[in-house]
Symmetry: C2
Subunit: 240 residues, 2 copies
DNA sequence: AAAAAACTGTGATTCAAATCATACTATCAA
DNA sequence: TTGATAGTATGATTTGAATCACAGTTTTTT
């Protein structure tokens, strides 16, 4: 996009407005209007971005990086609800209903956040009603993700739970490499465990057994080469 | 509400429009406009209302009765996602994104549904933009419910999972009776099990032990008297 | 009202994942 | 570069829920 018609020092950042689905229908001057309102924040790996109960000052949109959103279970174990990446947002509850966020959000790597303050957002909604439809769509996508998670957690079969998470990673973070897909895993083994509600040891063992049977290849701790996606899908639906 | 200004034979039904949160901000003439568009459907106990994959003709709103929304796990076990009651709606995915429903919905008792057809709904959205905010709010409520379910299912402690479901029932279906709360349970033991991802036997045993310790009293199969709500809450948060 | 069907409770047994334990490996900071 | 810290793999053991089995109960049907 050309810089001719707005403040150019903003072009140097990868602007949230240009990569976020909820703004994708805006005309370029509307887009620039939004851009002017943005507050930028930067977080280091491991840093807590928001805490459960916080009243946020606006909508948080991820410009760069990856974060985990989680709660604690009764046993005080972390239960990851979402992995958010570039273009994802959170804090929408506070936007509509003045309610605090219901989970912790922590940066999994260096992360840049764009915040669109509340009151600016209300104006925005009035001026560009297409945005409210976009938000609804995104909320529906989130609902679908949660529904699938519950469906998955209802399964006693750990093999299939691990397989599903690998499929999700492949789809979100995978890059084709020859016949397979190379995944840059955003979580530790323990993180994966906290995502699917098992222990770290169980994840280790299931990954090892998948490697043994040739379906995947563990490359260090942060990369997984998936040789046969089909095998995972099969594994996942084996018992239907 | 008075019947003087619209078709009175509709007043004889308990109209969805009057009990549904998403229409609560409408003026009464707007309300009547909506009412005229409604298609009514009736389902017997045990009847399947929609199937996964169905493209619905509109937004389904429950006027009377209770239903369960569920998917199947890898082991072909039912996994209940929602219990919907009067005022709740489903089929919103198809509304915004022309997508089929992602779960089965079955009547748990005799149920009356009001359907607002698609294209009527789009007009409605244009004429009464407050509705889109209401829908977003409802979607956020649904998200919160799903997030809590995941948090709960991440807990290995079955005692606390059963306790949480009883608290949910008490809140949604409970009636104060003396010191306690009498709950009209909408599900069988197996249904409860399919809601929290365990087996029927486990639910039986945990309910029995809660009865033994005096926290609850099982009255037939469909009613539970909760003597000490506090004990459940304690049970639920015991291990924090 | 009787018969059939669906649901429930509880003991005995099995089994898979949690837990415990420990050695190994990768990553980060001084 | 080294030491410290965080993360990983894997064997041995325990544990608690799933499974199996079956008798008892409730609800529905005719």
């Amino acid at each position: 996009m050309s810089c001719s018609n707005h403040n150019c020092n903003k072009c140097q950042h990868n602007l949230c407005t240009h990569r976020v689905p909820i703004f994708s229908d805006l005309a370029s001057d509307e887009m620039n209007q939004v851009t002017d309102l943005i507050i930028r924040k930067k977080f280091d790996k491991g840093e807590l971005i928001v805490m459960e109960g916080n009243l946020l000052e606006g909508l948080y949109i991820i410009n760069q990086g990856r974060v985990k959103a989680f709660r604690y279970t009764q046993e005080a174990k972390e239960q990851i609800l979402y992995l958010f990446t570039e273009g994802d947002f959170f804090g929408e509850k506070n936007l509509l209903r003045k309610q605090p966020v219901t989970y912790y959000v922590e940066a999994l790597e260096e992360t840049n956040i764009c915040v669109i303050p509340h009151k600016n957002f209300y104006e925005l909604l009035r001026n560009a009603p297409s945005i409210s439809v976009k938000i609804m769509e995104q909320l529906c996508i989130r609902i679908e993700h949660l529904e699938s998670s519950i469906q998955n957690m209802g399964s006693k079969n750990m093999e299939s739970r691990v397989s599903l998470i690998l499929l999700e990673f492949a789809q979100k973070y995978g890059v084709r490499k020859g016949n397979g897909v190379l995944v840059d895993v955003p979580l530790t083994r323990e993180g994966i465990a906290n995502y699917i509600g098992v222990t770290r040891e169980t994840v280790s063992r299931k990954l090892s057994s998948l490697q043994e049977e040739g379906t995947i290849e563990l490359i260090g701790n942060k990369k997984i080469m998936i040789h046969t996606i089909k095998a995972l899908e099969l594994e996942f639906s084996k018992e239907i």
